[in-house]
Structure formats: structure tokens, C-alpha cells
Symmetry: C2
Subunit: 612 residues, 2 copies
């Protein structure tokens, strides 16, 4: 019996015989699973996680020895010991991968004046005496006012609770974090005042640790969104949340746990930044504010807001307005009085991450005609034209993340990321220069463009069966991108006719969205003065390929700008500057959302945009 094994978050699928071990399946799929001892069960490096109902062999004695009972109960197993008896999803934790998966955290920075919401006040209070019996808080409040701060009117319990001991242990010295008229933190003199910016993507999470006193970025890190274990895309996760009684809590807990880990890792990394203070340790309890962005579904799942209505027409959000949420209310272990600020959403499928991207790229500040887009399963597009902004979301699907593509995968080690055809010879480049395992988004885009330019594909996406690069595969014509002897798993990596169709659907949706926005504003593609491409995938694509297949309009190359993880950078801007945060709220309110399904023209534009 053939069974399907789905490795996440790498995004590789493979078919194997029943009875195959997970380690063997990973090798067949080309997933770089660590196995230091070669599968003897002695090293414990091939740790994977399975769901409770996975159709696999029960834990063997060797696993019971290697793993604690609570780990086994949590679904952890040794991949080399587990035999597969049915189709299974296997979660591969980052530490079990032989090489890390690529996560995009860098983005084009934009300088802003440092003016964070939380300001530090360093005070030394007169001690309490028989002659000065003010309560601790009133003593602090008076000292703040004397130091030029506004008198606090909001005083969270969690902050007050720490005050009496802190004052007496530090000889009445204190560093106060004040956010407007709210005391958010009291700490020993000299304690760092940190901020955390996070972009929660459906697939990847990017985090930035910032020194709010200097504005410096102390550390940045990417990680995979652990919610992938419950569904690869937004709709799958919404379904999980609806169908399981505790689904929403499970998804929320997964991302909150990940952010807690991220905060710890960033602090450990950022501590090395303070060269002249080797005694200084950074700690998440010093993080007094976080700014979090994500698409509307990620935003809701992070906050534990219901998502059912996001999954049903007319797909409306629970809330669009910006939110300030106590970190403790969602289980984030930051400073006791820390706030998490969520940038506003625009619509059910145009979220805070898009607002953040617009902020980071300065789209809202441009006078002329600027198109900004963030490519993902849903691609959000905003057209800024002479002071107005129009946005839409198109269902471009997960093809660029490797899903629904025969040999597709995410941008991990061994993924083909570049393809060139010169003199009918197909050449490729892989991530990490590893033997090929599959093909990721930018590689697929290149392949289709190169095959089209070489005449192997026609406008409709059909393959020229007479071309030497084309052969007849199981499902119709296909092109071998990397032949078996050179691949990691010893099988050809191919691009099929069906794969090309998937790309046509994805890029067609994107292009149709662009065209509707132009049409709505009475402009043509050539009016676009700047074409901004944000997001991880957008960073790695070859724009010429995107133009070649008609995904983007044929503009001069210098009008395109690939800005990296602009959503993450926008979150950082909103962390560093109250003015930027206000700008984000204002710009979100200015954006006019167009629901594409309300446009009779959309189907026509879409059909037209399918052509290569």
C-alpha cells in the first residue's frame, strides 16, 4: 500500500510503502532530518512530533528509554523507530533539521525619530519617614511630576505589586517606564527598557528586539509559525479553530508559546550587543512594549478572537481598530505591565501586516502612483494614486509556497530557487548549494518564465511535446529540472503541465487584482511610478521572471523595488515612534477596500491574466 507522508513545516510530501520508517520517508523526501547515529535509535537527534491518532507503530522500548513519558504523551517520537502504516503528517522541529529553514527577517529600513510610547524616568525618591507618610505609589507619582512627566492616572495592579519591595531594595531608586499617563513598569535603576516587534506570518514569524532608549535593533530572528502543525494555510487553521472545541485556544497557545520562546532567544542574542556591560543580562521581563502585526486571521488567532466569521461570507473581522492588550492577558511573559499593540486591520483579508508594510514602505506618503503588494496565499495589493489608497486581496493560493506543486517545497535547504535556460540547457541553483530536493516559489517562477521564453511553453501554458526538455510523465507532459543522479533522494525533480496551471492561477489572480485597482482609479499600468514588492517570497523572486509570465505588468525594471520583510520593519517603526503608530492608524482608515467579488469585471480580468 502506498501512503503519503507530509513533512511540516518544510512543506515536502512523499509517497512511500507502508512499513517505511519516518526517517526513511524523510530521506526519500529529501528532508534533511538529523540522524547522527544513522538510525540506530541511540542519538535522539531525529525527534519528530506526531498527532495522537497517527497510524504508526507504538513506541518501542528504545524510545521509552530515550524519551520521557511526558514527551511521548506530547507526541514526540524518534523518526528512525516509527513505522508508518497510513498517511501521516510529521512535524519536524527546527532542532531536528540538519540545516535551518530560511526565514526572512531583514527588510528595507526607514529612519524615524525615536519617540517610543514608553519613556524611561530615572528617579530617586525621598524615603518614607514618620514625617513623610505618603504611600509608595503617591511618592512615585509626585516624583514623576517633579521630573516633568504627566501625573499617571492609570496604574496597573501588576506594576504596583512590585513597587514596595523594589523601592526598599534599591535605596528608593527606580527606573519607571511611563506610557502616556500609564505606569507600565518599575525596575531597578539601569534596567534596560526593551521593545519587541513581531510579524506573525501564516508560515513564518519574524521578531526584532529593540533598545527603546537608543532605538537600536539588538537582535532579529525568524522562526516557523508552529500553527502549521494544525493547518498549512489560513483557511485550514480557521477550520481547525471551528471544528475543535478547544481549537482556538490550541492555536493561540501555539503562537504565544512561540513568541515567548522568540523573546527569550532574542534577549539571549541581544545581550551580546551591550559590550561595555558584560554584567548585564537581557530578559523578557525588561520588554515593556510589543508591536505585533499579522494578517487578519493570524491577528485574531494570536489574540484568541473568534475566526468563524472570517471563514464565512462576507468574511468580516471581529475588529479592525488598533488594539492595546495587556501582555499578561494573552500569556506573554514580558514586563508585568507590558502592552501589546496590534496595528489596525483593513478588512477580513487585508490585515495589520499590510498596514505595517504600507507604513514601512512609505506608500501612504507618496504623491504619485505607487503599487505595493505582499505576495502570499492571499496577496494584498494597495494602489496609492494622488492621495487616495485602494486595496484588495486576491486568492493567489499556496503554489508559491510549494503546495499543489508536484515537487514543490518551502524555501529550505536543497530547494531549487533559480532556473536558467541557455542554449536549451537548463541550469539551476539550490538553497545552500545542496543536492536538489524540490523546488520553491522563486524557482518555480523562474522555471515557468524561462520555459516560456525558450518557447517550451506557449501562452496558454501548454508544453511543446517536441521540445527535447519535455517528456511524457505520469500525469501528462513534464520538464525535468534536476535529474535523479544529482538529487538528494535519487528521483527526478520535475515541473509538470499541472504545476504550470497552478502557477497560471496564482499569478492570474494577482494580475487581475492589479488590473481591477488600475481600472477603478482610471489609470493604466504604465502610470505606476513605483512598484513595491514586499514579503519573503517577493524578496527572492527574479522580477524579470514575474514580468515575463505576466504576473506583474511590463514596467521598466527600475520601477520595481523589493523591500524584504516590510511588515516586520513597519512593526518596528510603530514600536520606535508614536507618530508612526498614529500614521499607521490614519493610513488604515484612509485605505478604501475593494471587494473583488463585487466586481463583475473580475472574472474577465482573471481569465485574461491566465495567459503567460
Amino acid at each position: 500500500m502506498h501512503i503519503k507522508v507530509d513533512f511540516q513545516p518544510v512543506g515536502r510530501h512523499v509517497q512511500v510503502e507502508s512499513g517505511t520508517t519516518i526517517l526513511e520517508a524523510a530521506q526519500a523526501a529529501g528532508v534533511g532530518l538529523s540522524a547522527v547515529c544513522g538510525g540506530a535509535g541511540s542519538c535522539g537527534t531525529c525527534l519528530v512530533r506526531l498527532s495522537a491518532d497517527a497510524p504508526v507503530s507504538p513506541p518501542k522500548a528504545i524510545e521509552r528509554e530515550a524519551l520521557r513519558p511526558e514527551d511521548l504523551a506530547a507526541g514526540l517520537r524518534l523518526a528512525c523507530q516509527v513505522e508508518l502504516y497510513g498517511s501521516t503528517r510529521v512535524e519536524v522541529p527546527p532542532e531536528s533539521l540538519s540545516a535551518p529553514q530560511r526565514t526572512q527577517v531583514e527588510g528595507e529600513e526607514r529612519p524615524v525619530e525615536l519617540a517610543p510610547q514608553v519613556r524611561a524616568y530615572d528617579l530617586r525618591l525621598p524615603p518614607a519617614t514618620q514625617a513623610d507618610l505618603r504611600a509608595d505609589y503617591e511618592r512615585l507619582s509626585d516624583a514623576l511630576v517633579a521630573a516633568g512627566a504627566p501625573r499617571p492616572t492609570r496604574r496597573p495592579l501588576c506594576v504596583l505589586a512590585g513597587l514596595p519591595n523594589l523601592l526598599r531594595e534599591n535605596d528608593w531608586g527606580v527606573r519607571v517606564g511611563l506610557r502616556g499617563d500609564e505606569i507600565v513598569n518599575v525596575a531597578a535603576p539601569g534596567t534596560p527598557l526593551l521593545g519587541l516587534a513581531v510579524d506573525i506570518g501564516t508560515t513564518k514569524v519574524a521578531g526584532y528586539l529593540v533598545d527603546l532608549l537608543s532605538g537600536e535593533t539588538l537582535a532579529m530572528r525568524g522562526l516557523m509559525n508552529p500553527q502549521i502543525a494544525y493547518g498549512e494555510d489560513v483557511m485550514a487553521r480557521i477550520a481547525y479553530a471551528i471544528q475543535h472545541e478547544d481549537g482556538l485556544q490550541v492555536l493561540q497557545q501555539a503562537i504565544v508559546d512561540a513568541l515567548n520562546g522568540l523573546a527569550r532567544d532574542l534577549c539571549a542574542e541581544g545581550a551580546t550587543h551591550f559590550e561595555n556591560a558584560s554584567h548585564l543580562t537581557l530578559d523578557p521581563s525588561q520588554i515593556v512594549e510589543a508591536v505585533v502585526v499579522g494578517n487578519t486571521a493570524m491577528h485574531h488567532l494570536f489574540l484568541g478572537l473568534p475566526v468563524k466569521q472570517l471563514g464565512l461570507a462576507p468574511y468580516v473581522a471581529a475588529v479592525s481598530a488598533p488594539l492595546d492588550v495587556p501582555a499578561s492577558a494573552i500569556g506573554l511573559g514580558l514586563a508585568p505591565g507590558a502592552t501589546v499593540h496590534l496595528l489596525p486591520n483593513i478588512a477580513g483579508f487585508v490585515g495589520a501586516d499590510h498596514v505595517s508594510m504600507l507604513l514601512a514602505t512609505g506608500t501612504h506618503l507618496k504623491d504619485g502612483v505607487v503599487l505595493s503588494l505582499d505576495i502570499g496565499t492571499n496577496t494584498e495589493i494597495t494602489l496609492a494614486a494622488h492621495g487616495r489608497m485602494f486595496a484588495c486581496s486576491t486568492a493567489s493560493g499556496p503554489a508559491f509556497e510549494g503546495a499543489h506543486i508536484r515537487d514543490g517545497m518551502r524555501a529550505a535547504q536543497g530547494a531549487i530557487e533559480r532556473v536558467r535556460i541557455t542554449d536549451s540547457r537548463l541550469e539551476y541553483q539550490t538553497i545552500g548549494d545542496e543536492p536538489p530536493v524540490g523546488i520553491c516559489g522563486s524557482g518555480i517562477l523562474d522555471a515557468v518564465a524561462q520555459l516560456r521564453l525558450a518557447g517550451v511553453l506557449n501562452r496558454r501554458g501548454a508544453m511543446d511535446r517536441d521540445n527535447p526538455l519535455v517528456r511524457q510523465g505520469e500525469d501528462g507532459p513534464e520538464v525535468v529540472l534536476a535529474p535523479a543522479p544529482r538529487t538528494r533522494h535519487g528521483r527526478d525533480v520535475v515541473l509538470s503541465r499541472k504545476d504550470v496551471s497552478e502557477i497560471q492561477l496564482a499569478k492570474g489572480a494577482m494580475r487581475a487584482g492589479i488590473e481591477i485597482l488600475l481600472e477603478h482609479t482610471g489609470l493604466t499600468a504604465d502610470d505606476i511610478e513605483e512598484f513595491i514588492i514586499a514579503g519573503a517570497f517577493g524578496t527572492y523572486i527574479d522580477v524579470r521572471s514575474a514580468v515575463a509570465i505576466g504576473m506583474f505588468p511590463p514596467l521598466p525594471l527600475e520601477r520595481f523595488r523589493q523591500v524584504g520583510n516590510a511588515a516586520g520593519i513597519g512593526a518596528k517603526l510603530a514600536l520606535l515612534s508614536s507618530a508612526q503608530r498614529a500614521a499607521a492608524e490614519a493610513l488604515a482608515a484612509r485605505v478604501e477596500y475593494l471587494e473583488l467579488t463585487n466586481y463583475a469585471d473580475f472574472q474577465h480580468s482573471f481569465a485574461k491574466a491566465l495567459s503567460l
Copy 2:
């Protein structure tokens, strides 16, 4: 071996032989412990709670049968089965008492215009459609503004989380609770909007359930403060919080659990109030706001604020300012967005309960000279004189709660509460007209006054050994208040010379505080136009007795006013009216606190005030 058994919260102590059962000890102490089966272990009504290290016999088979393992683990035992081998404190839950302990909840009411912080808006929203894609919250926000409400700027997550399902389940109808510009609750149309006012006394807790739409009090209840199990008075509890690692949390949890139970009980009782809505059930989740008052230590323990600095000179509070705390942050199970408002404290030993009392009695509104006091282990006194207010706190001690008095007890069944001497014959009255068990505060006060008036006691408190009422006891001269044949436990109830000394100390501290306040303002006792006595004990005392022993100055009786639980009534006023809440804050700021130990005169005044 003689061992001491301390029954709480009744406040009775007794000495028994080692090997005595708790039920026998209770009978010896006159504590009305239920024992329907007569001590056979079959009825389970004599349930008591012991600490884990109590020196008693281990659970017998009969107890293992009657009690669940988790109950046994929590220290619950059958009093008839447990043998005592050493001095032990026994907690008697209210349900194990044959008659309830007296708790004072009523107080003199003062009419106010209904203007609560939380207002109800009944809305029906236009449904979300393809043509109207506003997020749920923005839809609600717009409808609120259309209904004349301010646009909300604060939107707690816990409220937003309930919104999507609520709207769709109620055909887009909703009752919104708005507190200023903060949404605190969304509920199905017609859901009651309730408020809770609570006075947390060191010994007793009083709660009031209020309909915020009509201003009516739906139910009121008193209960014993369960923290008594960890220390009878404020200082003992502060010590417990400091000496035990989780002491603060344990004390907080005890009172929070009690308040959750109180809220449930009040709802059950209040439901009967709505005659025309028999389908209506009241539920703590409908309570959108609570106002809580208590002395500074009770205030801090309820909030989980540190109390160490309250127990050490110069005895300052962590915070004096009024606080708004999310109910969920302290584990109160009210409406998800409910706030708990704490009235301000004045000083470490003049708390929010005193502010509340001043508010309820209108002390701050008087033009003339008014003295208001609340008698307890600490007696807080405020003198309002021609627009200024001066407050102090005097350590009057626990004698009026029966502590340190040989046969003293709290105001429970069988306590002697009135004493009269006519023609050298001593007569008494007990609570519930039960056979005497001991003597409570008002009875002690009467006894001393009557004995003084009858010439049995002289000015210094010495007993006239020649008087037939006086006999020689173990510790010196004593007066038999109730002879053995008439008492419940078959032992004489007596008042000793030492007991008289305790009362002298207590009343002396109180009177000295009054004199210092008068002196500070250049007034004499006769200038006092109104003398307001608040609190449970103050309600039950005979003012003539208090004047007779010099506890109060000798004013015409009509100047005295006994107002009952004014602190609880003040909390209710602050719940019903934003103006009253503001008035409480303003009055607390106006009160000038006098630290008596700073007054050289205090010792002199105190010594003088000891005379009877």
C-alpha cells in the same frame, strides 16, 4: 495535659484535656457546632477544618467513608471523631454552626441620583453584508455613536472575543455596557446590568447586589472573612503574608473565593426580586462593575499587593489612590470586562472603608463640627470642623471583639450582649436568647459601665472586693455575669479585673485619639455637633455605657448617631453614582492625616483617658 483550642471565626477559646474530641471541646466552649447524630459520625454535619500540622488523631475509617479524599486532603474532618493532642486552631465553616453568626450589612441609606459608571445601550446593528463589510467591532462602535454614546477608545480583548458569536446568535441585537469610553460588556438584549458593592472587614464581609438600571438593591448578605483562619487581626495576617512564601497569595485567594461565592449567593437571592420575569436568572457574569472597600491591609490583601511595609514603621501603604482593576486580573468571575473599583486609602491605618464611611454619612458635606468614627481593632476617627477634616487611627485592640477577654467571644449565638445592674442584681441578655456562652463587645462595654455606675469598679478600674457581686477568682477579683447552672457549657461566665483593664486600654486609646483631634483643631468636645458611630460593633453598643466609662465624651445623647455598616453603604453609593465616586476621591484628598505617635501629648492623653 491541658491544651488550648481556638474556635474560629466564632472567636471562642477553651482549655481541655488531651484526648478530648473537637466536638467535646466545642461543647465545652459553648460553640454551637451542629451534631445531628449526637457524635456518632454518621450525619457529617460537624465538619470542621484543621491545618495540615494540627496535633490531632489521624482520620478514622468512619471519616474516610464520610469524606472524599480531596476533602480530607484539604483539612476537613468530622469534629466528633478527631481527638486533640495539642493546642489547635479549629475553623468552623458557617454551615457547621447550629445558628448563624451575626453579620451587620444594613446601614443608614442616603439617596443619590442614579448615574452609574456603566451605562446600558440597547442596539440592533445592520447585519454584515457584501456591501457593508465593516468589522463587528466597528459596526458596534458606529451604532453606539449613532445612539448618542461616545465612541469607545478602550476595547478589552475579553469583550471583543464574545462579540462575533453574540451578534450572530441574537440577530445582531445587543445590550452594550459602556463605562466612559470603554466597552465593558456585550450581552444578549435584555440581560440584566448588575453591580456589586463589598465592604471587606477584617472579621466580616458585607455584600450588596444592585440593579444598575433601576438603582435598586436586589440582595444583601454578610459573611465571615475567611482570612480569619490565617490570623485574627490585621497584624497577624500581615505576619502570615510575610512569613509564608505563598502567604500573600493564600490570603488573596481566600477572600477572592469568598467574594465569588458571595456574588453567586447574592445573584441567587436577588433573582427573586424580579417578579415579572420568572424566566430571568441572575448570574455573576452580569455584574459589570464592583466597588470594594476595606481597611488598607484588607485592600492590599484583596489585590495581592505586598503588605510588609504596612507592618513596619512608618507603616505606609503601597498605594492610596483609587484603583480600577480588571476583575479577571484578581480572579473575580464577573462579566469578562468588569472592573473592580477600589476607593482611595488615606494612610496605612486609615483605609478605603473609612473614606466610604465618611461618604455614606455625608461627613464631608457638613458645615459644623462632626466627629465620625468606626470602631475596630484599629479605630479610625475623623473630625470635620468648618470645612477641614482631620483623621487619625488609634490602636484600640481586639478587646471589643472578645479577644484577650477571659470569656470574650464575637457576636454569635449565646453571647451576652446587654448587661444591667438594678438593685445590686445583675441581669443580662444574650444573642438569640440562648443560654450564655460568653460575652461579646457590647456586653463587655455594658458590664464595665454598669459595674462602674454601681460602684463595683472605681475610676482606676479596681473592683470593690467587699461588694457581693465580686469574688476572688484565679487571677484576682472577678464578677460572675452568668452562673454555671444557666450557661451552655456549665461554667460561670465572668468578667475579671484583667478584662476591665483590657477595656480601659481599648477605650482609652479611642478617647485619646478624639482628644488629640480636638486639641489639634483648637476645639473642645462640647463643640461636636454630631457624633457618628459606624460599624457593626458601633451599631450594637449602648451609647450611654460608652459615655459612662469615658470612651466617648459626655455629649447630649441626641448628638450621637449610630449608622450601621456605613462603609458598605458608601461602597454602594460609589457604585450607583459617578459623582459620589468622585466625591470619595476628593474627600480622601482633603482629609489631613495625623500620626498620633508624632504627638508628644498622646501618651499623656492616653493615660488620662484610661480612667473610668
